[in-house]
Subunit: 451 residues, 2 copies
Amino acid sequence: MSAQINTTKLNELAQQHDYKALRAELTDMFDIDVAAFIEELPDEEQLLVFRLLTKDQAMNVFAEFSPDVQQHIIKSITDKEISTLIEQLAVDDAVDMLEEMPATLVKRVLKNSSPETRNVINQFLKYPENSAGSIMTAEFTSLRKDITVSDALKRIRRVGEDSETIYNCYVTDDSRHLLGVVTVKRILLAKDNQIIQDLMEEDVISVSTVADREDVANLMDKYDLISLPVVDAENRLVGIVTIDDAVDVIQKEATEDFHKMSTISPNDKPYFKTGIFTMAKNRIFWLLILMISGIITGKILGVYEEAFSVVPLLVTFIPMLTDTGGNAGSQSSTLVIRGMAVGEINMKDLPAVIWKEFRVSFIVAVPLALLNYLRIVLFNPESGRVGLVVSLAMICTVLLANIVGCTLPMIAKLLKADPALMAAPLIATLVDALSLVIYFTIALTLIPALA
Amino acid sequence: MSAQINTTKLNELAQQHDYKALRAELTDMFDIDVAAFIEELPDEEQLLVFRLLTKDQAMNVFAEFSPDVQQHIIKSITDKEISTLIEQLAVDDAVDMLEEMPATLVKRVLKNSSPETRNVINQFLKYPENSAGSIMTAEFTSLRKDITVSDALKRIRRVGEDSETIYNCYVTDDSRHLLGVVTVKRILLAKDNQIIQDLMEEDVISVSTVADREDVANLMDKYDLISLPVVDAENRLVGIVTIDDAVDVIQKEATEDFHKMSTISPNDKPYFKTGIFTMAKNRIFWLLILMISGIITGKILGVYEEAFSVVPLLVTFIPMLTDTGGNAGSQSSTLVIRGMAVGEINMKDLPAVIWKEFRVSFIVAVPLALLNYLRIVLFNPESGRVGLVVSLAMICTVLLANIVGCTLPMIAKLLKADPALMAAPLIATLVDALSLVIYFTIALTLIPALA
């Protein structure tokens, strides 16, 4: 694998203030690697090294910086430098930056933008968070339908420099209505005098500016698209989403689901960039909620205090029962949550999912129950009744856990809540309480000493 | 969003045997939608409808079928049809198909392939599972370094039809050594008589055929690449990985991690395509292992039977303590597992991670412990000692859970095992046992009645 960076050498050059050699090294590197190198420098050196970069590289590197470093740079540079930077940045990168900035800095940046840039930025800032509008770029290549291949190639050559991707060209009319799409591959393979209209694909997949970014990414994945046009309510082309941004969305959404499913409040900063108090804040809320549920489970256990004073052996099976319930619930909820996230499972599948989970539960639960029964009567031959109670409770717990596990995420989706919140921890707590009630109810019924 | 399919209409046409109209409808649809439609048809109609497609569409649709349907088609068509299909399929699609097929069918397919195709396929079949070689395609565009832009464009036009992507052209010498990369965008923006060598980027990011597919996908994500060259041990270009395949890898790897982290054995079939016995098999193994751990926890609890016969109140705090421990451990292990998967956390960060988790634990645990103490003394004023025991046990449990949660996945990685296996369920079981020992040890020390 290439593209490894020799940070030691770069740091040496920076320490020796050999900026000429450093500049030469940086020019040969990939933008994201330059950004990572500058981010690791002490605050006071970041701007110094950043100013070494050529105008083009500076803009690309700036777009790769984390919001903190972007703010630090913006705070430290002159109004004139801000003006150059903001005019050169792609609109979507500028908007990403402004969304993370305090209002005073946003004002300063907008004050130093040209009226046109300010207009486009303000337009982009209005799109809802996590919408197609919020991840699209305004730099795309559009063609008129009545031009020839050679004219199209001329236009692509002219506007290509500014376009994020030229490989899909979008055909529009005078009012920017989206008429079709034609790939550069198709244009290159055609004859010079062919007309774009005859080459274009009219059945073009597009999304509205307010479409959910996760749906956008899934659509691009499904149809193997490298860019996807975004249209307004009147089907006018306003931007495109490029595949690299869709990949970022896929990664971010997966991370968000991983975190939510482990009761961590979502946070898009990397692990080491999150302060310990923010991290504690992101974790304590759900721990608290689930602790309170745990207290309720404890109260339920308290109701049966008499039972386990008489037969203390009963208590020793509680961890196994509740653990297994929690794990079984976690399995079915994860299958359903992930299945919905990638579009394999839809709301209409609820009955089919429940039926499947019901059958799988039995196949899983019966061997586990049998094994427990055998183990209990083998080691405590006088405790056949307890063995029966534990086995029956095991079957009921696994069944309940799987049904609750698959149903809750789908109900959440129905109520427009995030299915990922209905994951293992919440389901485990719920199943804990229910399985204890089942366990002791069966015990009170079957063990004469408790009656 | 466009590209919605009217399945009802298609089904009606199929039922009315109006194959001419059906064919017309299918021709206008996207390949993946045609594949999805045919897959839903009864077995005996699948081949019939598949044969309606044009040769080009048939090949693309075939590549989108699930392995089951591919096998069904291959079993049902003639040797001649197999021969046409296999020569037209992209090598990587053919290999994907053969990897899932029983040996007798593989033999039949290879027997009907041309010697060259058979050679390439055999070559591809040798690449390890989940390697760059296993996801790459052999259809790429290569250019010589000494040709002009206009010659390059002529060559792109000639070979473009067969190339998966033409947007990155790879520059190679006579022995196919990789020398550089040049984008079609750059070629189009250059003058006709410029030489490719002067346009190409020499510092080209490439991977070896045996590189892990997850690393390949992360690399393409990081550097925003739409294709990535794959080279053999002698740096000879043998294929490219395209972004659509990398996106599939990202989705599959995330799903695999979700499943593993919920103790479901990995399985790359969608939810509804997995039989209930396979599904039960994928789930029961870990349930069994964790049930046995639960039994051990129960045994530990049994050791303290005397203690909770004397102070039964102690039992009622067990679910809350073990739940909170499990949840805290799940939070830290998820952060670390996902952090490692996306490359944010590396092995060298272990001390930094432990130190961070240690501090976060205290900020999280102290309020939870205080709240518990207050609650206990408020509702049971005579149980100040029990309150103290529960609070101290809470702090120790959260601390322990976070440290175990962040350490185990990293140790797994160190031992070349999958970090995702060291997730919530396993950690919860471990923390359960340890926290019970801590809880009762503190109780035996602090509560005089138990001494």
